[in-house]
């Protein structure tokens, strides 16, 4: 009974902190713009492919395989964690136990996966510490970001240690008949068979608490960490842009304006007073991005696969698609609370554009979509980069001179170069056709 009460109190504290986090994020999301979601069937299929089959993570097969094992392991182990919460709440023991094969399979694979994850995470930590992985060394990664990575990895490592400890002592404590099947732990328990029943029971209880408290802690750290992707990746793949990568979203407000301009009846009419709040073209700051952009930024785990394939980044330019995502998240953390407090007009004399993501970065993008293709969780960086350009061009008229020249050429003579439309058929003169007869 005492255990139950303590458990309920810790769970309530956990949920309360989590609720606070969610509430804060909810207000942040309210600052952003709309992004309609349709085609649910297609999305479920996509989510299945990208998340559960890990198709994009396998673009790097070796390290991708390790990640996939961790992911699939988490999925199985999650079922056991759910049982633990249920047990804790009701005071039951192994409440989901049934005599059938399923319980055995799930708990056996959970036990095996715990060991696999333990090794994988150990390798990830070693790799981060001692291997010189270029994508873990971007300019945008501060000391804090590296600490964040180690904290998350260590937590997962400890989660697996506690899970295995729990299973081992469970096996020691209950020689016959075990609920579930634990191939790794029962093997390890063999070495402890002389342990007193009493101590095994205490150690089981201790590791049970250790594991569940770590889960609670982990869940509340994640939303403030780059490892938020543990929660958000699956939904993010569900919410993916379904359009081909080559397609940019249309700006309907511009279409409306051009149509008004082209229509002789409306071209010179005075606009209806107060018809609409004048909307900013493109993205300057957090209030201009869509909620999906912000979701992307929260989901980014800074793996750097995007930047490692970015042609600009590869050739030493400042642009890093990963940084574009990190900037958005950081800027929201900076400006979001102010907007929540003082309303939409809050101004801290800073902005996402310039103070976080600079013009030099934005103009270096070739819109080749390598970053978006590579992102294991379907983040779309190029649309945001183009939105930042849209602000620069249409609100500030501050494109690089070469681009301004190109705009002028298209406007004046319908081609990006300075050629007269009258000369458009010169290429077709005197094409010999040596048809064989």
């Amino acid at each position: 009974m005492a255990k139950q009460i303590i458990f309920i109190i810790t769970l309530l504290i956990t949920l309360a902190i989590f609720a606070y986090t969610v509430r804060r994020l909810y207000y942040f999301f309210r600052i952003t713009k709309r992004f309609p979601i349709k085609n649910y069937v297609k999305r479920i299929v996509l989510m299945f492919e990208v998340s559960f089959l890990q198709t994009k993570i396998f673009r790097k097969p070796a390290i991708g395989f390790l990640h996939a094992m961790v992911f699939w392991g988490f999925c199985v182990i999650l079922l056991g964690s759910m049982e633990m919460v249920f047990d804790g709440l009701t005071g039951s023991e192994r409440a989901f136990y049934t005599d059938g094969l399923w319980y055995k399979i799930i708990f056996a694979s959970g036990d095996i996966f715990a060991l696999i994850i333990l090794f994988a995470i150990f390798f990830f930590i070693i790799r981060r510490l001692f291997f010189k992985i270029k994508r873990f060394a971007g300019r945008e990664l501060s000391h804090k970001n590296h600490i964040d990575a180690y904290v998350a990895l260590s937590l997962i490592f400890l989660l697996m240690v506690s899970l295995l400890a729990m299973n081992v002592f469970y096996c020691v404590e209950n020689p016959v008949p075990l609920k579930g099947y634990y191939p790794i732990s029962s093997f390890l328990a063999g070495y402890l068979k002389d342990m007193e029943h009493e101590s095994a029971m205490i150690l089981y209880e201790l590791s049970w608490w250790w594991h569940i408290l770590l889960i609670f802690l982990f869940a509340n750290i994640l939303p403030y960490s780059k490892h938020f992707h543990v929660f958000l990746s699956v939904p993010n793949t569900f919410l993916s842009r379904l359009d081909p990568l080559g397609k940019l979203p249309n700006m309907d407000n511009i279409t409306k304006e051009i149509k008004l301009m082209m229509n002789p009846e409306t071209a010179f009419a005075t606009p209806e007073s107060g018809a609409a709040v004048i909307e900013r073209f493109g993205v300057k700051d957090v209030e201009d991005v869509t909620w999906k952009n912000y979701f992307d930024s929260l989901c980014c785990t800074q793996c750097g696969r995007c930047s490692s394939v970015c042609p600009a980044n590869l050739t030493g330019k400042k642009l890093s698609p990963r940084k574009v995502m990190m900037d958005l998240r950081a800027r929201m953390n900076q400006k979001g609370p102010g907007i929540i407090k003082s309303g939409k007009d809050f101004d801290d004399q800073r902005s996402l554009l310039n103070d976080f993501t600079t013009k030099e970065e934005i103009w270096a993008c070739t819109t080749c979509n390598a970053c978006a293709k590579e992102c294991p969780v379907n983040i779309n960086q190029p649309t945001l980069i183009v939105d930042l350009r849209r602000y620069l061009v249409m609100e500030e008229s501050s494109a690089p001179s070469g681009l301004n020249m190109m705009f002028t050429n298209i406007t004046n003579n319908g081609a990006p170069w300075q050629f007269s439309p009258e000369d458009r058929m010169i290429w077709a003169k005197d094409i010999p056709q040596n048809m064989k007869i």
Binding site: R59, P244, L245, G246, K247, L248, N250, M251, I254, T255, E257, I258, K259, F281, V309, P311, A312, L314, T315, G316, K317, K318, E360, A364, T366, T367, C368, A370, K373, V386, R389, R390, V393, M394, A399, S401, G402, L403, M405, M406, F407, I410, G414, A415, P416, W417, P421, D423, R424, M425, I426, W427, A428, I431, P432, Q433, N434, M435, K436, I437
Partner: protein, 265 residues
């Protein structure tokens, strides 16, 4: 025996005035019309069209930029003006099928004009050629390319943007050539560096030019010919070969040009 005569490229306005509606609008694109190197590609493709007796016409002086470089550089206003103008022209000629050589034009017609009401069947010329090869219309028996080693550079707007990886390769494989891949190919392909408006501006400061990085990768394959199917990629790779002083021995050809060579027309 050979008979030589010049090709008359049909202009949409003339064909339409005769009461005919051609099956395809062949969209030449600004590079095909104005870029000295790419003009040759437009000419090569027209040779193929004539060879297979395609029913097509070009817009000629009525053609104007699709708006792609403006759009990707952030000038949505200019893009939409161009797009709406083009859509009006297409409506005028009841255009249903558009053939493009430039992947950027392909992408914008296929994916972006529909948002503004312009819905067409858009065919990239590599897809068109693949189809002709599949149905036996194009038999490339010429000996000009015999045993040449070719590597193909995937244009971003054909590959990643629209998932067209096989069509250009199918065309190359139908020739009597050897095919080698660069380490980064298909969806992993490295951009030539010209997309997103880069073609028209100075590159930002870095430690290398993108087109050099890509050219070096292509050269490492030991290929005799670097094939591409995009005007921007062609400019970049040709410049890369010049930069590397290899332009005398290694050649950058567009797939349309290679087909003309392989057909020996």
């Amino acid at each position: 025996m050979q008979e030589s005569q010049n090709i008359e490229v049909p202009i949409m306005a003339d064909v339409f005035a005769q009461g005919r509606e051609p099956e395809y609008l062949f969209w030449v694109g600004c590079a095909g019309a104005f870029d000295d190197r790419y003009k040759k590609v437009a000419r090569a493709f027209v040779k193929i069209l004539t060879f297979v007796g395609a029913d097509y016409a070009v817009l000629g002086k009525e053609e104007t930029c699709t708006g792609d470089p403006a759009r990707r550089a952030g000038n949505e206003m200019l893009y939409q003006m161009q797009a709406l103008t083009n859509i009006a022209t297409f409506d005028n000629y009841k255009v249903k099928k558009i053939l493009t050589i430039c992947p950027h034009c392909y992408n914008i017609f296929k994916n972006e004009y529909p948002d503004l009401g312009g819905v067409y069947e858009v065919v990239h010329y590599t897809q068109y050629l693949q189809e002709l090869i599949a149905n036996g219309t194009l038999e490339m028996t010429g000996e000009l390319l015999n045993d040449k080693k070719i590597t193909f550079h995937d244009p971003c707007y054909l590959g990643r943007a629209n998932n067209i990886y096989e069509a250009p390769r199918a065309v190359l494989k139908a020739m009597d050539t050897q095919h080698v891949e660069m380490p980064r190919h298909k969806s992993f392909a490295l951009c030539c560096g010209a997309g997103g408006g880069q073609m028209f501006k100075e590159a930002e400061t870095g430690d290398k030019e993108i087109f050099i990085e890509r050219t070096e990768e292509a050269l490492k394959t030991g290929a005799d010919i670097i094939a591409s199917s995009c005007p921007f990629c062609m400019t970049m790779l040709t410049d890369g070969l010049k930069y590397k002083n290899r332009e005398e021995e290694i050649f950058n050809y567009d797939i349309a040009e290679l087909v003309v060579m392989a057909l020996d027309i």
